[in-house]
Symmetry: C4
Subunit: 259 residues, 4 copies
């Protein structure tokens, strides 16, 4: 009897080390996590492919989705149940209260949300609800958050300069609004559809300041083009400031790590 418990416990402990990336003794991911990450990527690719009518209407595709959906729902449900079982190894989440506490951690909530579209099917083809559910399927990608240690390191480096980055965003906002207002005043009478109000002119401002420049709207009057040109050059400053801040932050972070 004691033996069975000890074996069961050691199995739980071993699985805990397998499923928790931080506890894995080897380099890279454990075999179990490799399977889960592969399933996440495949599920996302299937969710993307499913939205394309040219793919959806293929005769063999519905058969494929039926099969993969069953596999993914099984894997992700099993993963979630396993996590709830093995988390008892962690002192923090032991017992019934611990499990409830674990239920409300962000990572667990994401895991549960990612399971919803596998169990509930809603909406007719083309409806808004269906579109939203397809969006949920893409959110499966958020499950990768558990493995993004390196990503968080980069975020931390940028977090040190969040104040400066925030200012450059504020600067961008002021320039955005200012240029939209200028073009609204100057180009509004000529092109009421594109510049007839500040919210409308903002669409042009965003496209110009980010140097995207779709070309669906652009100034045509001399004054409008003059201010448009100034806006385009200011866009360079708006790109240069965060780039400079990020470059400086990363350069410092690299030098610190070397010491």
């Amino acid at each position: 009897m004691t033996d069975t418990i000890s074996i069961k416990l050691s199995l739980r402990s071993r699985l805990h080390h397998q499923i928790n990336p931080a506890l894995w003794h080897g380099s890279g991911l454990s075999p179990l996590n490799k399977v889960i990450v592969l399933c996440i990527f495949l599920a996302v690719i299937m969710a993307i492919a499913e939205t394309e009518p040219a793919v959806r209407t293929l005769p063999w595709f519905s058969t494929l989705t039926t099969i993969t959906d069953r596999i993914f729902s099984f894997v992700f449900t099993a993963e979630l149940m396993l996590r709830f079982w093995v988390i008892g190894e962690a002192a923090k989440f032991r017992g019934m209260t611990g499990r409830v506490k674990y239920l409300f951690t962000p990572a667990t909530l994401i895991d549960i949300a990612a399971l919803i579209p596998f169990y509930i099917t809603v909406g007719a083809d083309g409806s808004f609800m269906l579109r939203l559910f397809r969006f949920l399927r893409i959110l499966t990608l958020a499950k990768l958050g558990r493995y993004s240690k390196a990503f968080r390191l980069l975020i931390n480096a940028l977090n040190h300069r969040r104040h400066e980055l925030f200012i450059s965003v504020g600067f961008a906002g002021v320039v955005l609004l200012f240029s939209a207002t200028c073009l609204f005043v100057l180009e509004g009478p000529q092109q009421p559809e594109a510049f007839g109000s500040i919210p409308r002119a903002l669409w042009w401002s965003v496209a110009t300041l980010t140097t995207v420049g779709y070309g669906d709207v652009y100034p045509v009057t001399v004054l409008g083009r003059l201010f448009g040109g100034i806006t385009a050059f200011t866009g360079i400053a708006i790109i240069a400031m965060p780039t400079g801040i990020i470059a400086a932050a990363l350069s410092d972070a690299f030098q610190e790590r070397q010491k």
Copy 2:
């Protein structure tokens, strides 16, 4: 009598500390300034929304603007009067001459300019004067200048490199003019509307050098495309130079602050 004065003085002193961000002992903004900043943001959002015909013609919108305009005009007028009263606390602006001197500080002039559109209404719907007044309403945002301590720190860091930034602007100007002249010579005969003069070709040059690329005008001849391509690549240098200067300036500023 002396008591009333002392109370009045202490009230003035307390309000002075409340309204002047630099004197506030706590972190962040004082409660009074929080209200003012909130009103500034709301007033700007209302001014933006008002320009959009689809919003302006909503039945409840004119009622809303009447109410919000009264609130904002009251808050900003009260703020201005309060500032004139409490500024007596500062030795520099004491007495009648001090108040006149205070009237001509940039921040006060902005406060007064921002009040104009709340008291004067001009122009019929769609007229240029009305557009200009709507522009003044957006200028309310300039009132935020009082709170932009962090923004000024960034500007100071860039100010150290203003010489280099100025040169890169000059370099951009020369390249701009040179590429416009080239395209005017090469593409002018084919596309007189877009490249028939240097000022016209400048519009294409700005869109290309800033990598915005609206696509309303572009070269079509072989030579025009060759020079156009060279211009597009030079645009990268024009983005890279200020970005490099800003990155270097910020990196130095960060390292200095760490010491």
Copy 3:
């Protein structure tokens, strides 16, 4: 008899030093390599020109290609045979087994692949096979890889930061997918052709996040434009992160070299 061998050996040794850029005692390239590099450039230019119908149909062009093709096929074949002969100088590739080993080095495989289009002609004008063969001709450029010592130094510097660069690519991928899904949900019903599925919306996402902005597709609804604008601004971060990483990596590499 011994003399002839010694002369032959010394000729082989001298040619080995001529043809191997790493062994050349002078600065720059050896005279032999200068000829080869020139031929590579000319062959690529001819291959490019050949694809243009306006050039291909010129009466003198087919005569020119016949001549140049013979010259280039002779030079590159002679170069390959020479390399196989002189490589015996290197201990590693001596003898028959050494030659076979040398055959399977990437540089030799590229040299052989680049020779194919000079000896085999396939496909009628306009066929896919012909297009593919023209692509092979451009691959002649890959022969330059032997001379790209400086290029490899830069690659090495970036290799140190490959982890960070990989993360920023991953970040770009997530943002790409997320923005495409948002636009698919919001703009899909209005523009089924451009945003009717996530793979279709991805084309817009790529053009916007990289700030290319062709303008063939763009959001037209209010919500679509709001999310489109956010995507365009996120595009700045996607440009800023690799730029910052590369700038920091190069700055460190330069400082290290100075010490």
Copy 4:
């Protein structure tokens, strides 16, 4: 007699210090150079305005150009003659041989070239020769080269990294050619006008890699869009590399200057 010579010499010496920016004892430009720089800017603005038919056909404009042309031709001719006289102060350019040597310095040649369009008028309205002459007028701007000491400092800083910049240009060239060849193979059959040959596809490649994205040509097939998207993302690396190199070079230059 000796007195007159001494006065004349001292006048020449004083003018030499006035006209040579490097010898001016005060800060900024000497009064004489200020006049010359102002004339350069005004002459360029007139040359730009002249190309615009809407301005050229104004009744008062031809009168204005007649006057300004006389003023500028007088100022620039006087400047050139003055320079030839005072250069005798410099040991290097003394005597007849010195003057001939001075004639062939780049700055003097630019000065002479900039004078040509003021003395020779060619071509009917709209002819190519006239366009070319207008281009020469813009070259007046090159006269500013004498005053660009600060610009040359920046160029020197970049000159240290010319090797790395050259490599990144080479890298851009290879990517450009490779992406153009890919699109030629994949999109050529669908869009022969835009992608029917590598030189044609290069126009799309340039617009995409520099993230300009005019939108006059873009891939429409699935494979074409896939490779187009990869090209657009590679464009970020092509922007990031020179930006990083320039940022690192400037950062080092700034730090050196501080020591």
